[in-house]
């Protein structure tokens, strides 16, 4: 009797499945959509990670925009120059120069540098902690719970022992996911040519900023005076703002900075290898 039920079950389910699959196979033939074969070819060239770095919903949408001529050949930030060259070759146009874009964390106030004026015991995410103001006295600083690291799909970020995120120069593809994840907007996306950064977002007056963080920008204007070009660095909201169109990218303005918040060429030092080599070796 049991074997009977097994046979009936298998036969009925198999029968239903067979009828439905025949119906679907027929429908597939009838409702076939002719697709531009170039889209498929471009998708093979693109990284297919759907990171959104190009500003579109995904690689397929970017490929469609390329064919319609609405997207730049070098628009794929994740793929970089190699992908741009391949796309250009396939479409038969000039590749142009793909600008490499990188994430820059504009805060150096880690656990060692900043003053803490609260204890936070809630959910360990920056978005949640930001609602209460976080632990650090500086309300413009990195909260340090790593929402950006969690958002990074490319293993290009980590939290260091000082409670600050580190971007690996060689691994970052510039998709901007970390910048969108940061509730305090201290991560910015910059072309790789930008090398001079003011690593502080604190808009308080110098005396206040200095009290709560040893590496804050105190608006002393020394870097403004030291910049080779007039107007290359400007003071806005008690912060030195580098004007990348004008300011030559050298270390001249950084030399007299009393709090070392303006630095040159820091980003490219931090490759993945360099970071892990800098960690203390633990005994097994």
């Amino acid at each position: 009797m049991t074997s009977n039920i097994v046979i009936i079950s298998m036969a009925s389910m198999g029968g239903i499945g067979a009828v439905l699959s025949l119906f679907l196979a027929y429908a597939d033939k009838k409702l076939k959509v002719e697709e531009d074969p170039r889209i498929e070819a471009l998708l093979n060239i693109l990284p297919n990670t759907n990171c959104g770095g190009c500003g579109r919903a995904g690689c397929r949408v970017f490929a469609e925009a390329l064919i319609q001529g609405n997207a730049s050949v070098s628009g794929c930030v994740a793929g970089g120059q190699a992908v741009a060259d391949n796309i250009a070759k396939y479409l038969g146009v000039e590749a142009g120069n793909a600008t490499r874009i990188l994430a820059v964390v504009l805060c150096r106030g880690g656990d060692r540098e900043t003053l803490k004026n609260a204890v936070y015991k809630g959910e360990r995410t920056c978005v949640a902690a930001n609602l209460t103001g976080g632990e650090k006295a500086c309300i413009h600083s990195c909260i340090g719970y790593g929402d950006c690291v969690a958002a990074c799909k490319y293993d290009a970020m980590t939290m260091n022992d000082n409670g600050l995120p580190v971007v690996f120069y060689d691994a970052c593809i510039g998709c901007g996911a970390c910048a969108r994840a940061c509730p305090r907007n201290i991560i910015e996306m910059h072309p790789a040519e930008h090398k001079l950064f003011n690593y502080c977002r604190n808009k308080d007056k110098g005396a206040v900023a200095r009290k709560i963080c040893t590496v804050s920008c105190i608006a002393c204007t020394l870097c403004v005076k030291d910049c080779a070009v007039e107007g290359g660095i400007e003071m806005k909201d008690n912060l030195a703002v580098v004007n990348y169109d004008k300011c030559p990218q050298d270390d001249q303005p950084t030399k007299r900075c009393p709090t070392t918040c303006i630095l040159f060429g820091e980003e490219e030092k931090m490759t993945k290898e360099a970071y892990y080599a800098s960690l203390p070796k633990k005994a097994v």
Binding site: I5, I8, S12, I16, G17, L20, L24, V33
Partner: protein, 192 residues
């Protein structure tokens, strides 16, 4: 008369989304624009009506007849999956824009518990064929109604001054809860 009762009951009083809390995923996922919500509602209604119309004969003439009604879950899921596949092909052919707008939520109708719930309720309440089909259609209408109202509210919410703590998903869930509360007002209107 019974058909009208089934229709009103399934679409309003026992609205699947707002009283049984089935099909919440597309209800929250596709309700940010009225146009997409309407299309999603229509696609789901279509699948639901067809599901009721196809699963009833399969249940009655195959599963019950051969005394294997315990296979209903498997059978219903196969049928729903095939129907969704068919709807997907059809929409892709007829309206690529809609196909893109619905995105991942279209294949997700397959796992929309409201569709499976409808087939199971239909069997549980021992509806006949006509009643089942009407029930399927009415459930779809109820789903469309709920998702349309939700999308209307959410479009207004875009411009509302929502406290920072409640922004995004939280306020959406609160609104959904209030809507469910409002729909409780229909309870007791008729039995069923």
């Amino acid at each position: 008369m019974k058909l009208i009762l089934i229709f009103i009951s399934a679409s309003l009083i026992n609205n699947f989304v707002l009283t049984y809390f089935l099909g919440i995923c597309p209800f929250l996922g596709v309700s940010n624009k009225t146009e997409n919500a309407l299309n999603m509602g229509l696609a789901t209604t279509f699948v639901m009506t067809l599901t009721a119309a196809v699963t009833w004969p399969i249940y009655t003439y195959i599963l019950v007849k051969f005394n294997v009604p315990f296979l209903q879950y498997v059978a219903f899921i196969i049928v729903i999956a095939a129907l969704v596949q068919f709807v997907e092909m059809y929409i892709r052919k007829s309206s690529p824009a809609l196909y893109r707008a619905l995105g991942i939520y279209l294949p997700l109708i397959t796992t929309n518990c409201a569709v499976l719930g409808l087939a199971l309720f239909m069997v549980l309440r021992e509806y006949n064929y006509i009643e089942s089909t009407i029930f399927g259609f009415a459930t779809g209408v109820g789903f469309t109604l709920a998702i349309l109202m939700m999308s209307g509210i959410r479009e207004e919410l875009e411009f509302a001054d929502v406290p920072e703590v409640f922004q995004g998903v939280s306020i959406t869930l609160i609104v959904a809860g209030m809507m469910a509360l409002a729909f409780m007002g229909f309870a007791g209107l008729i039995r069923g």
